[in-house]
Each structure stands twice: as C-alpha cells, then as structure tokens.
C-alpha cells in the first residue's frame, strides 16, 4: 500500500472519529434532556404534561422511522442553511446529530424508567423539587444504563458515518466505497473494515468498563 494511501486512511480515520464524536456530543446535549422529559412527563409523573409528551413521542418516532440515507438527502437544504455547505465532514454532522438525538432520547428514557419508583417517592418525601429529583436521583441512578445506551449510540453512529459519503461526508466508509469498491482495491477495503472493527470493539469495551464502574447495584469485592 502506498504512503499516499496510508495517509488517506489516517485522515479518513480522524474524519470518522471527528464526525462520530461531534454528533455524539451534540446528540447527547439534545437527546438527554429530551429523554428525561419523555420519561417524566406522562400523566401524574414528575413533570406531568401528557399532551406535550405525546407530541414529542410522535416526533421522536417519526424521526427514527426515516431511513438514514433518506434523512441525509432530505435535509440537505437545512444542512446548507446551518453550516453553509452540504458537502464535507462538518455538513455530515448535521444529519448524524439529527439521527442520534431521538435514538439517545429513547435510550435515556428507558434507563430512567427503570429507576425504582420508590426512590422518587422517597425524594419527594424529603421535600425535593422535580429538578432535584431528576439531577440527584434519576440521572445518577440511571447512569449505568445511560452509559450502555450511549455506547450503543456511538457504535450505531460509526455505522451511519459510513453512509454520509453519499453527500461527500468523507471518513472511512467513504474511503472504503471510493477506493475499495469503485477502484477495486480490496486491501483498502479490508483495512477500512479492520479499522472499523477495532473502533467498535474499543468503544464497546470502554463503555462497558465505565458502566461497570458507575454501577453500584450489585455487591462485589471492592478490593480493600
């Protein structure tokens, strides 16, 4: 493999990391509060707002129903208005974030719903405000689940990032298609796939490690 190709691979790897990292951060900033709201706003819940809950739930479901490749193309005007261009790594972050947000919101919602209702009652009995209950009880108790959920989201985004090549998004997936497939260079294709596998393995392992560290639900030897 030529030095030129190797530098292309390195560049593409960084582009993928950049796209996935940026859309994970942005998707979490948007999806976390959305998920918390979805988990606490049904009738009689902490932030009871059943109508808003239902509307947001519908929007989240709709966004998750659109195939990613169609989403990428459909929002090109929006992307251009936001970033100034619809081509390149920065532009690709827009559809990736839009795909990540409802996904992360649902994962967060599920994790929070698994928190024992007795803990909410105990916190209410202490005189906690809804915001205090969310910050000090729900988010903290749901942290192991949220961590695993975010791990899942990052792995999915690594897969999605390969598709944004369709709009000139660059990154590993794009490199694999243009060199590995269209120019019939199987060694490039193989390298791309191996890098992606390593990336996913790393993300999964780190995510599971963090989740285990913050999970105090089961008794274990704590080494002291």
């Amino acid at each position: 493999m030529s030095a030129n190709l190797i530098s292309l691979l390195i560049e593409a790897t960084w582009q993928t990391i950049y796209m996935v990292a940026a859309s994970t951060v942005l998707g979490t900033i948007l999806g976390l509060p959305l998920g918390v709201f979805l988990a606490t706003s049904q009738r009689g819940e902490l932030l009871s707002a059943p109508m808003v809950n239902r509307v947001l739930g519908l929007i989240v479901n709709a966004a998750r129903s659109v195939p990613f490749i169609i989403l990428v193309v459909a929002i090109i005007p929006f992307t251009r208005a936001l970033v100034g261009t619809s081509i390149g790594t920065d532009a690709a972050i827009v559809p990736l974030t839009i795909a990540a947000t409802p996904f992360i919101a649902r994962l967060v919602e599920n994790s929070i719903r698994e928190v024992d209702a007795g803990l909410i009652e105990a916190a209410r009995a202490m005189g906690a405000t809804p915001m205090q209950i969310i910050r000090k009880v729900l988010l903290r108790e749901a942290l192991p689940g949220i961590t695993l959920g975010l791990t899942l989201a990052v792995v999915s985004l690594i897969g999605y990032s390969a598709m944004v090549g369709a709009v000139g998004g660059e990154g590993l997936g794009d490199l694999g298609i243009r060199y590995g497939y269209q120019r019939f260079m199987p060694d490039v294709m193989l390298t791309v796939v191996v890098i992606l596998i390593v990336m996913v393995q790393l993300v999964q392992s780190v995510g599971e490690w963090i989740a285990a560290r913050v999970d105090k639900r089961a008794a274990r030897n704590r080494g002291h």
């Binding site: 007795g118 105990a122 916190a123 009995a125 202490m126 205090q132 105090k216 704590r222």
Partner: protein, 352 residues
C-alpha cells in the same frame, strides 16, 4: 450524638376522605377518618392490605391529598399546601419505607446526606450531621459502603438515619419492618423506641403485624375498609378489643387461639344437648388468674377446663388471655362471677 430534643408535632386527621377514579367508577379508599396523634406519641395504625392505611400515612407528608376533610401537622394544613410550603412541611416529616428506598448509587454517607443536600445545607455541616447520625444508628464501619453490600437491617438503619437528617418533628414508618426477619425487626423497633424517647419526635407507623404495635406503640388505631373502627391507648385496645377486626388481629399476636380439635367443632348457638361453653377470659394488670379459677371451682362448684393461655406485656403492664370451657348450663354464673372480680369475658361458642 448529643440528644437535642426536637419537640414532636401533633398530627390531626379531621373527617378525612379519599376517593380515586377507578376503572369502574369511584373507589373509596378512606371515609370520614378522624384521629389525633399527640406530640411525642408513637401511634400504630394496623389494617389488612388495601384497608387504606398506606393512603392515610401518605397524607401526612402530602404524597396523597384528601378529597375531603383536613390533615394538619404541627398546625399546617398539609392537604392544601403546595410548592415550597409543602416542601417545607416535608422537611419536618421524615419517612421510612418497607423496601428502604435507598439510592444504589450512593454510599451510606451519601444516602443520609441526600435530604440535607436537597435542603441546601452547607457541606461542612452535612458532614458533621451525617457522621453523628451514622454513629446513632451504629453504622460507623459501613460509612462508605453501598446499599448492595448491606443487610436488610443495616439498610433500614440507613433509612432511619436519612429520615432523621433534617431534624423532623414527625417520623412516618411505612411497614418499615415487614421485609425484615423477627430478630432484626426487634432491633429496628428498639432503635425507633430510643429515637422517640431521646428526640421526642412523634412516630406514626402503619403495619399489618399486631406484634409491632404491641412492642412500640403507645396508641393505636385499627383501620378496616377505609374506616377507623377502633382507636385508643394500645393497652386498652389489647385488653378490651371491641371490633371483630381488632379481635382477629389480636388472636394472631397473643398466640391464644383455640386448639384445632375444639375450633373445628365450635358452634355459635348453644345446642340443646349437654355442652361446654368456650369463654375467653382477659385479665389486666395485677389480677391473678389461677386463684380466680380455683375459687370459681371452690366457691361456685363450677369445673373449669383450661384450653389455652398466655401472658403478654405492653410496655411495663402485663395482661393475660385464657381460653376456658365450662358446663354450658353454668356459663352465665361463671361469667358473672369473673366479671364481678374485674376480669373480662367473651363467649366464643359451644362444643358438644
């Protein structure tokens, strides 16, 4: 911990009712409940599951609101308080739970600190207060452990320390010992008794175990199908139960039940044939029974069969229960004689 007595607060239920909208129309959980708990008292509310005791307890800190009547704690109308006023009342009312409801993600220290963090207490004050509370409930060695590493009794101790963190005037106990084994139950009840004595706070507890009421409550109320059917000093209710529900709870705790071979043949109406009348005799205070029964035989010529019996203690005062049978023809005489000498009698039935 330096015992700084907080003055307990009075709790008053005044004509309290609660109705839920159920799938088949209105469901009445509580109806016209009136009850006063004096400051510093330990009041036990006993009832079967679904009797409404949990709803009643949750009205004291506003987790449930009455649909009619008023609930007041230390003079505050809880049912109509909201927002920061309600949160203020809740800081004066600690609560412990059957399943402890501890945060799995926080250590013993962190769990006890939570209500103080919520109240906005500065962290150096939190540290002092929480360490004092940990010492009070005897968990110094478990300070940095997580709930998953604790036994049930230790978890409830954390729950109690947490409930005391904001120096409440009232402590609510929601079946706090129902998930614990008998031995642990005793230590937790002793701890609650010590706290009541040292800090002077009012304790309102709900339970379905008469033994819990006997061991800790100065006063009690029996709730059945959303109504209070009997209330008063625990000793009086134990000695002179009026309502069938109370009696059935009592027969469970006193251990005085009819032997099966008699209970199976018991008839409610007196048969024409020769039969024995089965009588429950309750004696309170210093009355000695044995001479009474001996005298019944000696003076009245009535032969007595003793079927079962036990002596209980409520606080320092003993009381006893005996199940006896006498010739049904002489039942009236026997009961009149015992009543005359200060014993309580109740006909349970007849056996041929």
């Amino acid at each position: 911990m330096t015992p700084e007595p907080t003055t307990g607060a009075a709790i008053r239920f005044d004509g309290v009712g609660k109705a839920f909208a159920g799938p088949k129309g209105q469901v009445t959980a509580l109806e016209d409940v009136s009850l006063t708990v004096q400051p510093g008292a330990v009041c036990g509310i006993i009832g079967r599951s679904g009797a409404g005791k949990s709803t009643l307890l949750r009205m004291v800190n506003g987790l449930e609101r009455p649909t009619s009547g008023t609930v007041t704690v230390a003079g505050h109308d809880v049912g109509r308080a909201s927002g920061s006023a309600l949160r203020g009342i809740r800081r004066d009312v600690g609560m412990i739970f059957q399943h402890f409801n501890l945060l799995a993600s926080r250590t013993v220290f962190g769990n006890i600190a939570l209500p103080l963090e919520i109240a906005g207490t500065p962290s150096d004050r939190i540290r002092v207060t929480v360490n004092d509370l940990i010492a009070r409930v005897g968990l110094e060695a478990q300070r940095d452990r997580y709930p998953a590493e604790l036994s049930g009794g230790q978890k409830q101790r954390v729950g109690i320390a947490r409930a005391l963190a904001t120096r409440p005037k009232v402590l609510l106990s929601d079946e706090a010992t129902s998930a614990l084994d008998p031995e642990t139950t005793q230590t937790v009840l002793r701890l609650l008794g010590d706290i009541n004595r040292d800090l002077g706070l009012t304790i309102l507890l709900i339970t379905h175990e008469m033994a819990v009421v006997r061991d800790i409550a100065s006063h009690m109320a029996v709730i059945d199908q959303g109504r209070i059917v009997e209330a008063g000093a625990t000793y009086d209710v134990f000695v002179r139960p009026q309502h069938p529900t109370t009696r059935s709870f009592l027969s469970g705790v006193t251990g005085v039940t009819l032997p099966q071979f008699i209970a199976g043949r018991l008839e409610q109406t007196r048969p024409d044939a020769a039969s024995q009348e089965v009588i429950r005799v309750t004696f309170a205070g210093d009355h000695a029974t044995d001479p009474m029964l001996a005298r019944l035989t000696g003076q009245m010529g009535i032969d007595v069969n003793i079927l079962a019996g036990a002596i209980e203690e409520i606080g320092p005062r003993p009381f006893g229960n005996l199940l006896i049978s006498v010739d049904a023809m002489r039942g009236d005489d026997a009961r009149a004689y015992l009543e005359r000498h200060g014993l309580l009698t109740e006909v349970l039935g007849y056996v041929r």
